[in-house]
C-alpha cells in the first residue's frame, strides 16, 4: 500500500481522525444541550458558593472593625456600653447610605440589580458594579447589627456571578435567566446549607414551576454550592436541635391551631414591613438619613434588648433548645418585630428570610408554652412547636409550603417532626393566602411586572428567542471544510446558504459520520451533495407555539429561522430556549 506523503492529505487524515474521536466520545457521553446546561449550572453553583463564603467573611470582618469584637452580633451587643449599642447601628446605616449614594453616581445608567426581577421579567443581565455596591452597603448594615438577614446579599452575589458567567458564554435570554436562577439557588443552598430547599425556593417562589427543565439545573447548582461550602468550611446543619417526637396523636390538635395562628400573624408581619417602608419614604428624608434613623431605632431597642440585633439566628437556637423563658421571649419577639420593620423600612439592603424564621420560632414557642400551661399533654414540648412554627410562618410568608417543609427538615435534620410540620405549613399557607393574597416576594414581583410595558410580556415570537449568526457553509463547501466546522463548533446540523445568505438546507453530522474516515470523499463531496433541502425551518414572526410544533417529530435541537419571503437565514432557534420561554410565559400569565 502506498504511503501518504502529501502534507495536505496527512493533515486531512488527522483532522478526520480527530473528528471521528470527538464523535465517538460524544456518542458515548451523549452530551445534549440540557446536559451542557447542567455543567454550567454546576459551575454557577460553585461560583455562587464562593461568593456567599466571601460575603460571610467580609460581614464578620466589618463587624469586628465597627465593634472591636469578633463574636456573634448578639454577643457583641451585650458586651458594648449603651451608647455604643446606639452608635454602631447608626454608623452602619451612615456607611451603607454613603455606599449607596456613591453607587448611584457611579452606576446611574445601569439596570435593576434585583435578581428576582432579572429572572422573572428581565434578560438575566445583573449589573456587576451596582450589585457589588448594594452588597457592600449590606455589609455595613449587617456588620453593624441591623435587624436583617444576610442571605439576601449572598443570593444576590451568587446570582450576579451566574449572570456574569452566562454573559461571558453568550447565553440566550432564557438560558441566562435559568443560569441566574441557578446562582440564586446556590446562594440559598450555601447560606442555609440546604440544597434541596435552595432549589425549591427558586423553583416554587421565583420560577413558579417544578418542571424538570428548570428544577434539574437548580438542583445541580444547589448541590454543588452546598458541597463547596461543606468542603471549605465546617458547615453542618444550621440549627442543632434535640430530637422532637409526636408524643400523642392529640398533639395534632394544637398543631392545627398553630397553623392557623401562623397563617394569621405572618400577613400582619408582612404588612408591618410594608407600612414601615411607606413611613420612612413618607418622611421625605434622604436615603442616608433614613438609614441612620433606622440604625438609631434598632440601637435604642438594643440598649434594652440586644437580641434584636442581627438576623435572629442565635435567638432561634436558644428557643429551639429551650434556653429562653416565654416571658423574656415575648419581649424579644415584640422588640425584634419593631427592629426588623425599622431596618427593612429604612431601605437597608438585606434579606428578611432569617428574621421570618425567628418570627415563626417565637410564635410557635409562645403558642406551645401557652398550650403546655393549660394542657401539658397537648404540648409536651414547646420547643417542638417553635420548630413547626418556623416552617408554618415561612410557608405563610413566602407562599411556598413545599420549600418551607423541606428547608426546615434540611436545616434541623429532624425527621420526627415532619407530620405536624407538613400539616401546619399547609394550613398556614391557605390561611395566609385567604387573608392577604400577597407573599413576601409576590408583591415586589407584581410591582416590577406592572412597571414594564405590557407588550414586552405579550411578545412570544420566534425572533425574540432566536440566536443570530448561526454557523453556515456555502453550497460549494467541501466535505473536509464541513468536517472541520463540525469539529470546531458543537452542533449537529450545519446550515447551507447561497451567496446572498438564503437558506438552502442543512448538513447533518449524523449523515456524514460513517464516512469521516474516507479521505477520497473529502475532496469530492460538497455541501450541496449532502445537504437536506427539506430540513424543517421556521419564520421569525411565527409564535412560540408554532416553534414548538416545528420541533415535533424532529430530532434536531435547533431549527433554522428563515424569512419566508426572501428565504434569508436570520438565526437559529434552540428547543431548550423555547421550552424555558414557554414555562416562563405561563408563569408571567399567572403573575
Amino acid at each position: 500500500m502506498k504511503a501518504v506523503t502529501d502534507p495536505a492529505a496527512l493533515l486531512m487524515r488527522r483532522l478526520l481522525r480527530l473528528l471521528r474521536w470527538r464523535l465517538w466520545i460524544q456518542e458515548k457521553l451523549q452530551f445534549t444541550e440540557w446536559q451542557i446546561t447542567l455543567l454550567w449550572a454546576a459551575l454557577a453553583g460553585f461560583l455562587g458558593a464562593l461568593a456567599s463564603l466571601l460575603f460571610s467573611v467580609l460581614a464578620e470582618g466589618i463587624h469586628e472593625l465597627l465593634t472591636g469584637y469578633n463574636s456573634g452580633v448578639v454577643e457583641t451587643m451585650r458586651q458594648l456600653p449603651w451608647w455604643a449599642r446606639i452608635l454602631v447601628p447608626a454608623a452602619g446605616g451612615l456607611l451603607a447610605g454613603l455606599t449607596l449614594l456613591f453607587g448611584q453616581r457611579l452606576t446611574r445608567e445601569q439596570s435593576s440589580t434585583d435578581y428576582m426581577e432579572a429572572i422573572v421579567i428581565g434578560s438575566g443581565d445583573l449589573p456587576v458594579r451596582s450589585s457589588l455596591l448594594k452588597s457592600a452597603a449590606a455589609l455595613f448594615t449587617i456588620g453593624s447589627g441591623g435587624s436583617i438577614g444576610r442571605e439576601g446579599p449572598m443570593v444576590q452575589l451568587a446570582a450576579m456571578m451566574a449572570s456574569m458567567l452566562g454573559r461571558w458564554r453568550q447565553f440566550s435570554p432564557p438560558q441566562l435567566r435559568l443560569l441566574v436562577a441557578c446562582g440564586a439557588a446556590a446562594g440559598i443552598a450555601s447560606a442555609y446549607n440546604a440544597p434541596i430547599a435552595g432549589s425549591f425556593f427558586v423553583a416554587e417562589i421565583i420560577l413558579g414551576t417544578i418542571a424538570m427543565e428548570s428544577l434539574g439545573p437548580l438542583a445541580v447548582a444547589a448541590v454543588v454550592a452546598a458541597l463547596t461550602v461543606r468542603v471549605m468550611t465546617n458547615a453542618h446543619q444550621l440549627y442543632r436541635v434535640p430530637a422532637f417526637t409526636l408524643n400523642s396523636p392529640w398533639e395534632m390538635g394544637p398543631y392545627i391551631v398553630l397553623g392557623l395562628v401562623a397563617g394569621t400573624v405572618a400577613p400582619w408581619f408582612l404588612r408591618s414591613l410594608r407600612a414601615a417602608e411607606r413611613w420612612f419614604v413618607g418622611t421625605s428624608m434622604p436615603l442616608i438619613a433614613r438609614l441612620v434613623l433606622g440604625g438609631i431605632i434598632v440601637g435604642d431597642i438594643a440598649v434594652f434588648v440586644p437580641e434584636v440585633c442581627g438576623n435572629g439566628y442565635t435567638v432561634v437556637l436558644s428557643i429551639l433548645n429551650g434556653h429562653i423563658a416565654w416571658a423574656a421571649l415575648l419581649l424579644v419577639f415584640v422588640a425584634k418585630w419593631v427592629a426588623t420593620a425599622s431596618t427593612f423600612g429604612s431601605g437597608a439592603p438585606g434579606g428578611v428570610f432569617t428574621p421570618t424564621l425567628f418570627m415563626g420560632a417565637s410564635v410557635g414557642y409562645l403558642f406551645g408554652a401557652a398550650v403546655h400551661t393549660l394542657w401539658p399533654t397537648g404540648a409536651s414540648s414547646p420547643e417542638a412547636f417553635a420548630l413547626v412554627g418556623m416552617g408554618a410562618f415561612l410557608s405563610a410568608a413566602t407562599y411556598a409550603p413545599v420549600m418551607a417543609v423541606i428547608m426546615l427538615f434540611e436545616m434541623t435534620l429532624s425527621y420526627d417532626i415532619i407530620l405536624p410540620l407538613m400539616l401546619c405549613s399547609v394550613l398556614a399557607y391557605y390561611t395566609a393566602k385567604g387573608l392577604e393574597g400577597q407573599s413576601l416576594y409576590s408583591e415586589a414581583l407584581k410591582r416590577k411586572t406592572a412597571a414594564i410595558p405590557a407588550d414586552l410580556l405579550s411578545t412570544g415570537s420566534v425572533r425574540d428567542l432566536m440566536k443570530t449568526k448561526p454557523e453556515t457553509v456555502p453550497a460549494t463547501a467541501r466535505f473536509a471544510e464541513i468536517a472541520r466546522m463540525f469539529l470546531t463548533v458543537r452542533i449537529n446540523h450545519l446550515y447551507v446558504v447561497d451567496a446572498d445568505g438564503r437558506f438552502l438546507g442543512a448538513v447533518s453530522l449524523h449523515d456524514i459520520k460513517p464516512y469521516l474516515g474516507e479521505p477520497d470523499l473529502a475532496g469530492l463531496v460538497i455541501a450541496s451533495d449532502i445537504m437536506r433541502e427539506d430540513f424543517p425551518r421556521i419564520g421569525p414572526k411565527q409564535s412560540l407555539s408554532d416553534g414548538l410544533a416545528a420541533f415535533l417529530g424532529v430530532t434536531a435541537e435547533r431549527l433554522p429561522v428563515v424569512e419566508p419571503e426572501s428565504g434569508q437565514l436570520v438565526g437559529s432557534l434552540a428547543k431548550g430556549d423555547l421550552l424555558l420561554a414557554l414555562v416562563e410565559k405561563r408563569k408571567k400569565t399567572e403573575v
Binding site: R478, E518, L521, G523, L524, I526, S528, D529, I530, E533
Partner: protein
C-alpha cells in the same frame, strides 16, 4: 438488499472505450443511455444537473477517475452508469487531465445516505487490489462486469 454493492455489481449502464475529447462530451456519452433506464423521469434536467454539479466543483476522486453526480428530482431512484473512455482520456479539470473511468450517479434529493454509501463503495472498489487497473485493461464488457462483481463483493 445491499444497495451500493448490488448497484456496483450490476450498474444500469456500462460503456467501454468511449471516444470523446471533452468533459461535456464524456458526460453526454454516459448520460444518453443512462437517461433511458427506468427511474430517470427527466432526461434533460438530469443532464443539466450533472453539468451544473461538474461546473461548481471537481467530481474526480483520483487521477483517472471521475464521479459526475447529481442529487436531482430527475430520478426516482439511485442510478449508476459506468463509462470507460479511450486513452489517453479526457480532462475533467486542471488537476485531472486524463480521466478514463466515469462513474455517473443520479440520486433522488432525499437519499443523502444512499448517495454517500454509493460514493464510499465506489471509492473502496477502486482501492481494491488490481480492480482499477483491471477495469482499465478489461477487453470485454463481460470481463469489465466480472471485475465489478469481484470488487463489490470484496
Amino acid at each position: 438488499m445491499d444497495l451500493p454493492n448490488d448497484l456496483i455489481a450490476q450498474p444500469d449502464v456500462v460503456l467501454l472505450d468511449v471516444n470523446v475529447n471533452t468533459r461535456a462530451a464524456a458526460l453526454r456519452a454516459v448520460h444518453t443511455p443512462l437517461a433511458l433506464v427506468p427511474g430517470v423521469n427527466d432526461e434533460a434536467r438530469f443532464l443539466r444537473d450533472l453539468q451544473e454539479r461538474a461546473r461548481v466543483a471537481s467530481v474526480c476522486i483520483a487521477a483517472e477517475v471521475a464521479l459526475p453526480h447529481a442529487r436531482t428530482s430527475a430520478v426516482d431512484r439511485i442510478v449508476l452508469g459506468i463509462g470507460r473512455l479511450e486513452a489517453p482520456g479526457v480532462a475533467f479539470d486542471a488537476e485531472h487531465p486524463q480521466v478514463r473511468l466515469v462513474f455517473m450517479i443520479g440520486t433522488p434529493k432525499q437519499q443523502v445516505e444512499g448517495y454517500l454509501k454509493l460514493v464510499s463503495s465506489i471509492s473502496r472498489l477502486l482501492k481494491t487490489e488490481g480492480v482499477r487497473a483491471g477495469l482499465l485493461a478489461a477487453a470485454t464488457e463481460a470481463e469489465f462486469r466480472a471485475l465489478l462483481v469481484r470488487g463489490a463483493g470484496a
